[in-house]
């Protein structure tokens, strides 16, 4: 094996610009050998059609705990993609059963019904940010707290525990930033908290997701065990917090980096829906991508991949594929349809996407409404990236208004 393989993830020129490797590989080497942080090799896919094909095909599974699968991160548990997580992740029929049980709660209608509460939370956070005076950091005062509040609301967790949730979430997503013992401690504390929370909801149900799942589980005789309930709550926090939080910051930064975009939205707020989709597509700093593993030979992009291969699908590279999107390199706030892959595709595609869309649209609408004069307080090239996490984002987003 070549020891000079390019290291993945690729370094980014700035927080809002994609690594040049994406375009090079899309045109020259759509199935590219790369080396991961663990030192293990994997194959990177960057074309729209290949990424979509792999994510839609269940033979590309998520069992990265297999003996010969590539390890994603330097530390042993590997965060969300590690072996431990793989053991907790249901696949095949068990996954479909879980998905349908939990999916009943995540319908678009139900998420729309949460919208007024999300809006009230967003308004409260902005009020506090404005009261603190300009400049302010939009990431820590708006982007991060909002999705945690929403997940706490979803799970029926009291407001007073929101700060603890944010802390655990940050640790459990670690790529290289925290030590293994810190990550383990956070996982354990969070696990204990959720276990007790599920018990509390069993004794005293509310109208939250956990209470509803308990009711279904009990009515249909143990459809979801205590372990599965705890795993579901944990999974929702891990999958729904940092992703949405970072996206609020990145979306706002992208729109402000070229002020004509922001002004277009101030003048025409009806564009918020398509603007959010375009921000999701255009995100140049999405993090790792999705790893998959195969146990049989499958052909992708004209290459036969042998059994035991680990592939990494780069949705963000695929989202800029000129063969799938006209003027893919331009941010077009009116783009529709916009079949970007930022929520994945196929049977595992993001179950929280209706909620994420509601949160992003609401967060943006409230910002436009309250602070139409919003502007970056630093130049876009100087925006600091969050380092060392699987989900990409901005460390800070200093703004004035």
């Amino acid at each position: 094996m070549d020891i000079d393989l390019p290291e993945y993830p690729f370094p980014q020129p700035t927080a809002l610009e994609p690594p040049p490797e994406w375009a090079e590989l899309r045109s020259g080497c759509p199935v590219a050998e790369v080396r991961l942080a663990s030192g293990d090799p994997a194959l990177l896919l960057t074309r729209y059609s290949d990424v979509r094909q792999v994510l839609s095909d269940p033979r590309f599974n998520r069992l990265l705990n297999a003996e010969d699968a590539a390890r994603i991160t330097a530390n042993e548990s590997g965060g969300v993609f590690g072996a431990e997580q793989a053991e907790k992740t249901p696949t095949g029929e068990a996954h479909q059963r879980w998905r349908r049980l939990v999916g009943r709660y995540f319908t678009a209608k139900r998420m729309a019904a949460m919208q007024p509460r999300i809006q009230a939370m967003a308004e409260r956070l902005l009020d506090e940010m404005v009261a603190g005076g300009a400049p302010a950091d939009l990431v820590s005062s708006y982007g991060f707290p909002l999705p945690v509040w929403v997940i706490c609301d979803l799970l029926g967790v009291p407001d007073s525990d929101r700060a603890k949730f944010a802390y655990w979430s940050d640790h459990m997503l670690s790529l290289t930033r925290y030590q293994q013992d810190e990550i383990n401690a956070a996982e354990q504390e969070f696990g204990r908290y959720i276990w007790a929370h599920v018990d509390a909801k069993r004794a005293d149900p509310g109208d939250d997701l956990i209470s509803e799942l308990i009711a279904v589980a009990d009515a249909e005789d143990g459809q979801l065990s205590q372990m599965e309930l705890v795993g579901t709550a944990q999974g929702l926090l891990i999958a729904g917090h940092e992703t949405t939080a970072n996206m609020i910051g990145k979306m706002t930064a992208m729109l402000l980096a070229d002020r004509s975009r922001w002004e277009q939205l101030v003048a025409e707020p009806a564009l918020v829906r398509t603007a959010v989709e375009e921000a999701l597509r255009f995100d140049a700093n999405p993090g790792f991508g999705l790893p998959r593993y195969i146990t049989e030979e499958i052909e992708v992009g004209g290459t036969k991949l042998p059994p035991g291969t680990t592939v990494i699908t780069s949705m963000a590279a695929a989202n800029r594929d000129e063969t799938a999107f006209e003027s893919a390199g331009d941010m077009d706030l009116r783009r529709a349809p916009n079949p970007h892959l930022s929520f994945g595709a196929g049977p595992h595609s993001c179950i929280g996407q209706a909620l994420a869309r509601t949160e992003l649209q609401t967060a943006l609408t409230v910002l436009l409404d309250r602070l139409p004069g919003l502007a970056l307080d630093v130049s876009p090239e100087e925006l600091p990236r969050r380092e060392g996490l699987i989900i990409g984002g901005l460390e800070r987003l200093m703004v004035r208004w």
Partner: protein, 64 residues
């Protein structure tokens, strides 16, 4: 005229279609899986239904 069909086996309940065209698509109370309300939507809805077809993450919607 367009005819819409949905494949409930493929659908993963992501709800994109309902967010876009609530008059045409709904999701089942029991499982969050797509329910087709209007197989022959009126003309003004054609654009948004085609958009739903294009963005459905599992390719569960087809129009003809």
């Amino acid at each position: 005229m367009i005819r819409v069909s949905v494949d409930r086996e493929r659908c993963c309940g992501a709800g994109q279609c309902v967010l876009l065209a609530p008059d045409v698509f709904d999701q089942g109370e029991e499982d969050g899986i797509v329910v087709l309300l209007e197989p022959e939507p009126a003309e003004p809805l054609h654009g948004i239904v085609r958009e739903a077809e294009a963005v459905c993450p599992t390719g569960a919607i087809t129009t003809s």
